[in-house]
Structure formats: structure tokens, C-alpha cells
């Protein structure tokens, strides 16, 4: 298998300039241009877009997408399918529940991007970490957080994964190593960098070695985040210390209503990896098998201690930025272009064509997931809201930091509270 590190050095001189309203031409079958070294500077950056794949499988340079991925087993394919269907059906249910007044605030749905979450997170162990943004429901589900916990959290119930205290944009799960859920873009990337640092520290300082290698952290974020300082600062630090992290850019071309091209001087995000000394890889994020191949290699690299990778996934969200977004700026032909590349439809087609499963088996998976999501809603509905007494819990890990007693007054009358936190 050709390493994409080789490919990454010779990034194809294909411009990703996409003018705001124009639809992208559907990708022609691509030649091996992606592996050819750049001989002279590109004359102009404004070109029609080709969908560039990392094409890590050597010998398949011009093969159509389906045949290039014969290396997935039936079990793996069904696992991928089920995970993507779970993401889709769950998010569709969220939309329903929101409009029925069961879910509130800002809810950002992941429809269309499932291949990225599934392709990456299904390659992880339990000990590996995932850090996401506000578009985190599906990352949580892929990492193994039960659908009922996520749904209950969205309903604001005490049985939610964060006891109802986080909400849609703050999904956390310690047992599943989901480190958030962040509302401000970019602020999760340093946290992910810290988790990766801790993995390296555990190995080198604490001498705790996992059997496979270093625990890996994945940081998911969007195209808008790639113009933010924290992104660049963390690319630098991660490469400097060879941290076991993969930076996964979910480039869906839009940051609310701001087109990536209107916001970014050089829109080819994957190229920013080599500027910091790490491989930058561009992958078709609507194809879960391609994502999976890239993910595998990036994760293994990190696990071996070779450092970070920047992976840009070309993807698309079928819905608006959030349920409050009227989504008027995106052109219908752009939307239909990507709807035709629905990752779930594509995988279904592949599975059937490759005889990995039958249509009715896939249907039964969909039915199973329907039931799971229905059950999640029932569970969330039946769960209690948090009691008022929960308000002051969890503000401090050590509640002496509060200084305020349960009656809402300062604890100045209780001398016990000054006994301190440290035990000598």
C-alpha cells in the first residue's frame, strides 16, 4: 500500500478555488495526478475543482471508486453501514424533536457528513480520544455513547450524558473518551492537543505503555476553524512534539453563511500541513471507504509516535448550519451535486455490488436503528428533568471552591469549610 506520506509531499497542483455560487463539476475519474510531483508553479489558482482523493492504494490509480476498495470485509462493511445509518436517523429525529419543542437552543446536525465520523472513529480503540465541535452528536454516537444518553442530553434531562448540563454543543463521555463538545470553534483543538500530550506523557514519563502504542486523539473541526489562530498554534505544537493526534478537517465549504472561498486566502487546507512539517492529505469525505483508508494510516502513524497528520475531508452538510439557519445562500445545484454523493447511498450500492450483503439485510439494519432511535426518544421523554438542587453541583470538583453553602448563603458561618483541600 503506498503510504500517503509519499503522496502528501507531492500534493496535486489542483486548485480548490470554488467560486461562491457555482456548482462544482462532477468529478471525472481522476488520473494519477495526485502522485505526480509538481514541476512548475501552477499558473492560476482559479480552476474548476476536481475531487482529489489520497488514493493510498497503489495500483488502482485510475480504477473507479468501487473496485479500489476490495479490502473491506462483510463485517466491517456492515459495521460502517450501521454506524452511518445511526448517525443519519438520529439527526433526522433530532430535527423532528426540535420542531416538536422537545429540544432547544442551537442544534447543529451532521446529515451528509457521516462518512467522516464513521470512517475515522470506527478505527479507534476505547482508550483513544475524540474531540469535536458543536456538531458533535454523531461523533458521540460513533465513539459509542448510547443513543439514549445523547438524546436525553438533548432533551435536557438528568439522565443525559452530561446530566442535562451541557446540551447539544457539549457532549462529553469519560468512559468513551469523548472530550467534548465545544461551542466556540477552535477551542477544542488545544484540548485535543493536550489529550495527545497526555498520551505521550503517559508513555514517556509515567512509563505506562499500551499494547498497541500511543493512545491517539482525533480533533474534528470545520473549514471555518482553519482560519483561527488556535488551529495554527496547535499544528505547530503537535508537530513540534510529535504528538499522537490527527487533525480532521470537515470541509463542508460553509461556515454558517460564509463560503470557505470568501473567507480563506488559500482554500486548500490540506496544504497547510506540510507548512508545519506534517503530512497534509485531502480525501473525498463522502466516501467512507476512502476516509477509512486515510484514517487508518493517519491513526497508525500517530500510534507509532511519528506525529500528527492533517486530513482535509471534502464533505457537505445536507441541512443548514443549525436548525435555526434558513440556509438560503447555498445554491440548489451545489446541494443536489452532493446529495447525489450521499455516503450512505454510496456504501449501500457498494455493499450490494460487491455481494457483501443483501438489500434486505441492509433494510433490517435500518429497521434496527429506527428502533434504537425510537427507544432513545422514549427514554428521553420518560426521563426526569434535573432538580433545582442540581444547579450548584459539578461547578467545582472540590466544592470548597464555592464558598456558598446549600442554602445559597456564604458559608462564613461554617468554620469547617476553611479546612482546606490539600491533605498533607
Amino acid at each position: 500500500m503506498a503510504s500517503f506520506t509519499a503522496a502528501a509531499k507531492f500534493l496535486a497542483p489542483v486548485a480548490a478555488a470554488r467560486s461562491g455560487g457555482d456548482s462544482r463539476a462532477p468529478p471525472p475519474p481522476f488520473p494519477s495526478a495526485s502522485l505526480r510531483p509538481r514541476r512548475k508553479p501552477a499558473p492560476s489558482r482559479l480552476r474548476t475543482v476536481l475531487a482529489v482523493s489520497s488514493d493510498v492504494l497503489s495500483g488502482n490509480k485510475s480504477a473507479p471508486a468501487a473496485a479500489a476498495h476490495s479490502a473491506v470485509t462483510r463485517e466491517e462493511a456492515l459495521e460502517l453501514y450501521e454506524d452511518m445509518v445511526l448517525g443519519r436517523i438520529f439527526e433526522d429525529m433530532c430535527a423532528q424533536m426540535y420542531y416538536r419543542g422537545k429540544m432547544f437552543g442551537f442544534v447543529h446536525l451532521y446529515n451528509g457528513q457521516e462518512a467522516v465520523s464513521t470512517g475515522f472513529i470506527k478505527q479507534l480503540n476505547q482508550a483513544d480520544c475524540v474531540v469535536s465541535t458543536y456538531r458533535d452528536h454523531v461523533h458521540a454516537l460513533s465513539k459509542g455513547v448510547p443513543a439514549r444518553s445523547v438524546m436525553a442530553e438533548l432533551f435536557g434531562k438528568a439522565t443525559g450524558c452530561c446530566r442535562g448540563q451541557g446540551g447539544s454543543m457539549h457532549m462529553f463521555s469519560a468512559p468513551h473518551n469523548l472530550l467534548g463538545g465545544f461551542a466556540f470553534i477552535g477551542e477544542g483543538i488545544p484540548v485535543a492537543t493536550g489529550a495527545a500530550f497526555a498520551a505521550k506523557y503517559r508513555h514517556e514519563v509515567l512509563k505506562e505503555s499500551g499494547p498497541d502504542g500511543l493512545d491517539v486523539t482525533l480533533a474534528f473541526f470545520g473549514d471555518g476553524t482553519c482560519n483561527n489562530g488556535q488551529f495554527f498554534e496547535c499544528l505547530n505544537m503537535a508537530q513540534l512534539w510529535k504528538l499522537p493526534i490527527v487533525f480532521v478537517v470537515e470541509n463542508n465549504l460553509w461556515a454558517i453563511g460564509m463560503s470557505h472561498l470568501r473567507a480563506t486566502s488559500d482554500p486548500e487546507i490540506y496544504k497547510k500541513g506540510p507548512a508545519f512539517g506534517m503530512p497534509g492529505v485531502h480525501v473525498d469525505g463522502m466516501d467512507v471507504l476512502k476516509v477509512r483508508e486515510v484514517a487508518k494510516e493517519a491513526i497508525e502513524r500517530a500510534r507509532r509516535g511519528e506525529g500528527p497528520t492533517l486530513v482535509e475531508c471534502e464533505t457537505y452538510r445536507f441541512r443548514g448550519h443549525s436548525l435555526a439557519d434558513p440556509d438560503e445562500l447555498r445554491k440548489p445545484d451545489e446541494k443536489s451535486h452532493y446529495a447525489a454523493r450521499d455516503p450512505i447511498t454510496a456504501l449501500k450500492k457498494y455493499i450490494i455490488e460487491q455481494n457483501l450483503a443483501t438489500e434486505s439485510e441492509l433494510k433490517s439494519i435500518e429497521k434496527k436503528i429506527d428502533d434504537v432511535v425510537e427507544e432513545a426518544v422514549e427514554f428521553a421523554d420518560a426521563s426526569p428533568l434535573p432538580p433545582r438542587s442540581q444547579l450548584l453541583e459539578n461547578v467545582f470538583s472540590d466544592p470548597k471552591g464555592f464558598g456558598i453553602g446549600p442554602d445559597g448563603k456564604y458559608r462564613c458561618e461554617d468554620p469547617l469549610f476553611t479546612q482546606g483541600t490539600a491533605q498533607v
Partner: protein, 388 residues
Amino acid sequence: MAAASSLHATAAPVAAAAAGSRSVSAARSVRVAGSGAARAGGRMVARAATKADSPASAASSKSDGHEVLLFEALREALIEEMKVDPTVCVFGEDVGHYGGSYKVTKGLADMFGDLRVLDTPIAENSFTGMGVGAAMKGLRPVIEGMNMGFLLLAYNQISNNCGMLHYTSGGQFKIPVVIRGPGGVGRQLGAEHSQRLESYFQSIPGLQMVACSTPYNAKGLMKAAIRSENPVVLFEHVLLYNLKEKIPDEEYVLCLEEAEMVRPGEHVTILTYSRMRYHVMQAAKTLVNKGYDPEVIDIRSLKPFDLHTIGNSIKKTHRVLIVEECMRTGGIGASLRSAIIDNFWDYLDAPIMCLSSQDVPTPYAAPLEDATVVQPAQIVAAVEQICQ
């Protein structure tokens, strides 16, 4: 174990609090016993309120202790904690090979290695966030801002992630970081290097704040902050790093939420912290000569306030003067004033006075800079006014 400190000379250690009793009552008994010695000697005796089970005996200290400068005391605390707990690590600019801009981490990289004493690039927001992520995964980072003011760049991470993640995760992740660095008005360092971030950070829910002021409390608070499961901001002061004091040889840890009785008195409660403690004590000399008996409390814990110690003092003196280095608007004094009014209104015989820095960016010129912060003469005048 009690210790003495002053800006200009060291004094002999005073007998320690009785072990086994609650810290507050222990402090009381020590205060009563020691106050005579303090006044008779004419020297300022600072006494730290100590934990009940700290290794102290009623009779005498086990050894003489050793003299350190404040930055060395912080360093000792770091070294002790890093030796005992391998998850404690330090992040910051120039903390490693350079030894720290104020030498707090001098030699630590040689002792503990480049990963445990991490020289970061100049990216405060990101390395603070890195500390948060590392803390969530079991480490205990001590994050240094080379100057406290630089941590304004890390405000995103400090407010959103340090302060909030324990809550928004429903208690699943704890963030036991220590964020520390020198702040306050120095000697003509210019406006941006003379900031007081305690007022900016105080509203952040989930964050604890302490300010050290003597080598003794610096070491004890640093150790307590490292051991605390909460995110703690430890405010040091640029001008106090070279204070010299004799501190105990035995290990001790102070209580993060406790205030320090610096000078017991009867006429007025003066609440202060960090460098202003020394201006207050200087004013106290003048006040004593004029026949006043001020009670000086170094509040140390900026969030939460130790309203227990403060309240007991107010119930005795009925008059309060707050002396702080924050700006008047929205400072620690402003919050303290309202907390006192809420809780101790009935005990007040006079309006609370609060002396704060001027609401100006700290000027470079020396006379203007002096006029920005509270000077001892103003403190004397304020006490005279309150005690009329």
C-alpha cells in the same frame, strides 16, 4: 508553624498553633498569645493561619527553618510536588532551559526533563487549552503566564474550558490545573505589563483564585493549588519575588480558601492582598504611632472570599477598609464590599471604604505610576476618616 516576614528584615519564627484543633480556633489562640510579642518588639509579625493537622507543635518548631526568597519558595513547592506526584508538570514560555523569567522554574528541566517542564511556543491560548486537555486525561499541569497579562490571550480557554468543563460535562472531567504568573504594577513596566487580572477572572464560574504575598504563603498556596482538584489561578506579584523569609524545613500546605491574620487589632479591619499588604503594614506603623490599632487581614483567597475570618473581624471592629491594587471599577474590592454588605451589614458602624488603583492604564512615568496605586499615606488618611 508560624513564620515572620517583613519587607526589610526577617524576624524569628513565632511559636506554632496547637495541633489537633480546628484551624480557625487554632489561629485565634495563636493570635492572642502572640500579639503581645508583636507590639512589644515593635516589629511586624505576620502569622499564617495554618491547617489543623499541619506538622506543628505548640511548644516550638522542630528545626530553625531556612531562609528563602519568594521565588525560591515557589520553586521549592513545585519541586516537592513534582517529586511526589509524577503527573505534575509545568507548561510555559521559557520555563525549561531558561529557568523561568523570574527563576521560579530554575533547574527544574534538568531535574525532571523537557517533557515535564515544557518550553512552549508563544501561544498562550493554545498551551493553556493543552493544559486543560492534559488535565482531563489525568495530568496536573502548572501553566505559567510569563506575565499575568499575557494570559488575557488565554481568556477563551480559561473561561470556557478551565472554568466550565467540569460543569458542562456533568462532572465527568476534572481540570486540576494551576495557572500562575506575576502580575500587578511593577516599576515602570508600562501599561500592558502592569495588569491586575484578578478582577477580570473573578466572575468566571468554576475557577478558584488565590494571591500569595510572602514566601511562607507562596509555598503553601502553591502546594495546595497543585493538590486541589479545582482549576486554581495563583496570582504572584512582580515586586514580591525577592522578599526574604525563613520558612519551615518540614513540609506544610496551606488552605486555599483561608485568609491570613497579619496583625490583630481592635479599631478597624483592613482587608488587603498581595503587594498592598506591605503598603498597609507600612501605614500600620504610622497608625500605631498615632494611637490606632488596625487589624490587618491578607485575604489571600480572592475567590471564594474567606468570609468566616473576615466576618469575625468585622464583628469585632465594626469598621472596614479594603486596600487593593485592582482598578476601582469591577475590582476584587468591589465584590468584597458587596459580599460584606450582604452578610455583615448589621455589624458595620461606618460605610465600607475601598482604596483601589485608579481606572487608568498604568503610566510609564514614575510619579504617575505612583499615583496610580494606593500609597501608605492614603491608607493612613482613610483609617483616620473611618475611625472618626
